[in-house]
């Protein structure tokens, strides 16, 4: 009997420990950033730092000597706001109309196709977007621009395309959750399909759509690698559509490697300011979504003023047109991006075998991607090996062990939600200030993987929790009523039933590790070197390799080939995820051959 008690106790201890660890890591991240950034704030002065518009850091600056550089990030704050606004203008509007198209105007046959287009757009690594930006968009824009095309317009376009899938997916689910009865009622009054959609369905989903836009803004704020490749990056105000400017995230990623004492502190402080903006946006999102819930419960919300009523008769046709155009634009972008990169990248990939299978040569002129592939694999294995068990155990603790509204759980959950909103470059910063010193200050696959596993945690916890919530309570009751303990119930019944959710968490995580580059750049290594032989060696993941190759400009064909590999990886992940999740779902619902022992 005691054995069971011990088992139950151990179970609770382990699951609870994982949850605590998650909460602690959130605290650690903020504590570290504040701890490292605070002296810089103090030295530079908060006012001068935030509102100063000269950024000319000096590597000689230390905390105990007078400053010899200027550290003002106001130009970058303005740049960040401008780029985000531009992205919202492009990605927000396009995403919104695409969602309308997908929900209401898309022929049934094409729905699956468009859904996968959006999925794919969401899965493409940001560095590939950036690469597409410098190799396709900038030359195109330079035809009309007074400079090489970089600047606010290019940044807004690229960012807009990047937030489009987020906005589309969330707006779509908001639109889909509008009760069918509204539609029926409107149709019964003789309204056409388009009229019903634009007068009844969309207004009813307004809060949800706004929430999706806010989330899109959050994503645009934190984006780093794509924007760094097209913005021009001089630390000034964006004085026009084609004027070099810099955003906060770019500032961190560009200068982290060089930074001296105060400079490094100032970059961490830049991260703190960035976080402040992200939290503001998250807060807005929370308020919005809670408002949406309130509205739903009250079922009374004030509708539009009369002026707009008068304008409405025109909108259904126009709106319909716009929604079709947006969807067409989305697919065009995807086709363009895939087509362009495959067209340029496949030939070198196929004709140069050494690219994939070549032996790495010390200081050699030939680029081989084998070390990057292996480093990527190592990072995927280790970061998933850390994040998946921790995340799943945390989710189990939150969902199975705790009362829903206890203070501790609310704290842990909000800590995890906070973690989810933190931009990936901030994880990179944390990795540099927290992990690198542990390994003698030099970057390693280990440090990079640790950094990224923190970044994966919130996704894993959330996805797992959702799938745990989908497991019917009847199963748990059935098992407990037989006298089985909690641990046994969880291990034998609940987790196996939630397998498809856990699996999708795994796939999502692999995709993120492969796609992310900002957190790896300064933690894992940015120089393409030999195959890492242990986790203490440095290495570049494929995405970082693409960033380096594209930025260097010596090996542009190799860069295209790397982009092709990345896209193919994302594609195959997408497909395999669908196949396996579909298979798991079929197995658990229909139940053909179950396992027997």
């Amino acid at each position: 009997m005691n054995k069971v008690r011990v088992k139950e106790f151990l179970g609770k201890l382990i699951f609870g420990g994982a949850a605590l660890f998650c909460a602690a890591s959130v605290i650690a991240i903020f504590a570290f950033l504040v701890f490292k950034g605070f002296p810089a704030f103090q030295k530079i002065g908060v006012w001068e730092f935030v509102f100063g518009d000269v950024w000319s850091p000096s590597r000689y600056d230390t905390y105990d000597a007078p400053l010899s550089g200027y550290y003002g990030i106001f130009t970058m704050i303005v740049g960040t706001i401008a780029a985000t606004a531009g992205a919202l203008l492009i990605g927000g509007i396009l995403g919104y109309f695409t969602a309308v198209f997908l929900t209401f105007f898309c022929p049934k046959k094409l729905q699956g196709l468009f859904a996968s287009v959006i999925h794919l757009l969401a899965g493409i690594p940001s560095v590939v977007y950036g690469f597409f930006g410098i190799s396709f968009l900038l030359p195109l824009l330079s035809l009309v621009s007074p400079n090489n095309g970089s600047g606010l317009l290019a940044a807004s376009l690229i960012l807009g395309i990047m937030i489009l899938p987020t906005v589309t997916a969330l707006s779509q689910s908001a639109l889909e959750s509008v009760p069918q009865s509204y539609y029926d009622a409107s149709s019964a009054l003789g309204c056409s399909h388009a009229e019903t959609v634009f007068r009844i369905m969309i207004p009813a989903a307004r809060s949800g759509i706004t929430a999706s836009l806010i989330l899109g803004v959050g994503r645009a704020l934190g984006e780093t690698m794509a924007i760094v490749m097209v913005a021009g990056n001089s630390p000034t105000y964006p004085k026009g559509l084609f004027h070099s400017f810099r955003v906060l995230t770019a500032n961190i990623v560009m200068e982290m490697g060089y930074a001296g004492e105060v400079h490094e502190g100032a970059l961490v402080a830049t991260g703190v300011v960035l976080l402040f903006f992200v939290f503001l946006i998250n807060l807005l999102f929370l308020l919005r979504s809670s408002k949406a819930i309130r509205e739903k419960n009250k079922k009374t919300s004030v509708r539009k003023p009369i002026v707009r009523q008068a304008l409405l008769p025109h909108t259904p046709t126009l709106g319909r047109l716009l929604s079709v155009l947006s969807a067409a634009f989305c697919s065009t972008i995807l086709l363009l991006l895939l087509g362009f990169i495959l067209f340029r990248g496949l030939p070198p990939l196929l004709s140069r075998r050494y690219l994939l299978f070549g032996k790495y040569e010390f200081g050699g002129a030939q680029i081989t991607l084998l070390p990057s592939l292996i480093a990527t694999l190592m990072a995927v294995l280790l970061s998933l090996g850390i994040a998946i068990p921790l995340g799943v155990m945390t989710a189990v603790f939150l969902h199975e062990y705790t009362k829903k509204n206890s203070l501790a759980v609310r704290l842990i959950r909000s800590a995890i939600d906070t973690l989810a909103g933190v931009p990936s470059i901030v994880y990179g910063l944390f990795g540099v200030v927290a992990f690198l010193p542990l390994f003698g200050g030099s970057s390693s696959v280990l440090a990079g993987s640790l950094t990224v596993s923190l970044m994966l945690l919130p996704t894993v916890v959330r996805t797992t929790e959702e799938s745990l919530a989908a497991v019917p309570d009847g199963l748990r009751e059935g098992s407990l009523a037989l006298g089985a303990g909690k641990v046994r119930t969880i291990l034998r019944l609940v987790l196996p039933s939630a397998l498809s959710g856990i699996f999708s968490a795994v796939i999502l995580s692999i995709g993120r590790v492969i796609g992310e580059s900002a957190p790896f750049l300064w933690t894992m290594g940015s120089v393409m070197t030999a195959i890492p032989r242990s986790y203490l060696d440095s290495g570049t993941t494929l995405s970082v390799a693409l960033y380096q190759l594209a930025g260097e400009g010596w090996h542009i064909e190799e860069a295209y080939a790397t982009a092709v590999i990345l896209i193919l990886l994302v594609l195959s992940l997408n497909l395999s995820a669908r196949a396996v999740i579909g298979h798991l779902k079929r197995k658990s619902t229909k139940g053909k051959e179950a396992r027997s022992r």
């Binding site: 000319s56 000096s58 590597r59 007078p66 400053l67 010899s68 550089g69 200027y70 203008l89 492009i90 509007i93 919104y96 109309f97 030359p139 330079s142 009309v144 621009s145 007074p146 400079n147 090489n148 634009f198 021009g232 990056n233 001089s234 630390p235 000034t236 004085k239 084609f242 004027h243 070099s244 810099r246 560009m254 200068e255 490697g257 060089y258 930074a259 707009r308 304008l311 909108t315 126009l318 716009l322 790495y360 010390f362 200081g363 200050g441 030099s442 970057s443 290594g525 120089v527 070197t529 030999a530 060696d537 440095s538 380096q548 594209a550 930025g551 260097e552 400009g553 010596w554 542009i556």
Partner: protein, 306 residues
Amino acid sequence: MKFGKSILLLLCVCLLVSFVACSHVEKKITVVVREVGSGTREAFDGMVTDGVHFLAETDENGRIRHNTTASAVVQTKNGALLTSVASDRNAIGYLSLSSVNESVRMLSINGAFPNEAALLDGSYPLQRPYVIMTTKKLPLSARAADFLRYLQSDSVKSHVEAAGCFLPGRGESALPAFSPLSALPSGEKILLRGSTSLEKLILSAARDYAKCYGVNPDDLFDVQLEGSSVGRKAVENDTSGNVIGLSSVAVEADGINAHLLCLDAIAVVVHPSNFAVSDLSLAELYDIFCGKTQYFSAIEQGTKES
């Protein structure tokens, strides 16, 4: 809906206006620079002057102020900078002479082209030393010391030349020949840290050095080239005596032994079809890079054509 429509309209108008405005007017100069912190930028900013100001100088507050124009495009890699200049008819940029290729056109400065003679007699003003850094705080490990000996021998000459750099002031005879020890000194890997500009040079030297002992260079060296400042930091924090730092700017620091490796020129480059300029004085260069001169047509050429 109404909002969306008007925004879309506005965007179209913006595009149209900028299109019309830009296609007929002479384009401004696109100034392309390296990022603050890179050795190339630091050397360039410290040398380009109109006689009064430098591109980077200490202002009345005792702080460094950068006078580089705000509209400059910043590139973090030599190759990216090269691509930027090669793809923009109105661009001007600078980079290490060793990285220049035929995709861009090189300008002469003060009438001198960057070549060995002009560099060694000092008539080409934009030059900088490549420096090997080692720690002063503790003795170098046997391996690192042996590699340093190699870098200061005549064996390094071919690598320097291959990289497009120049050995300073000394003839070939001034350098001792390198004779390998009877066996490779035991110890940990040599850590190569520092400037990306020296990548080509140091890697080929390291490869040949390893060949002297018949070992795989990967077992001998750990290479992380992320910039001169990173290298300097690594040398300052060296606790094992294994770090060899590489800097593309002159080094004056307490804890560091600096050994001059060779000289490099910083070349100023424009688009290959840009014949509006061929030669610039340092002052003209300053005016362009600080944004005072905005059009190539504003630069008087011809009188001092060389």
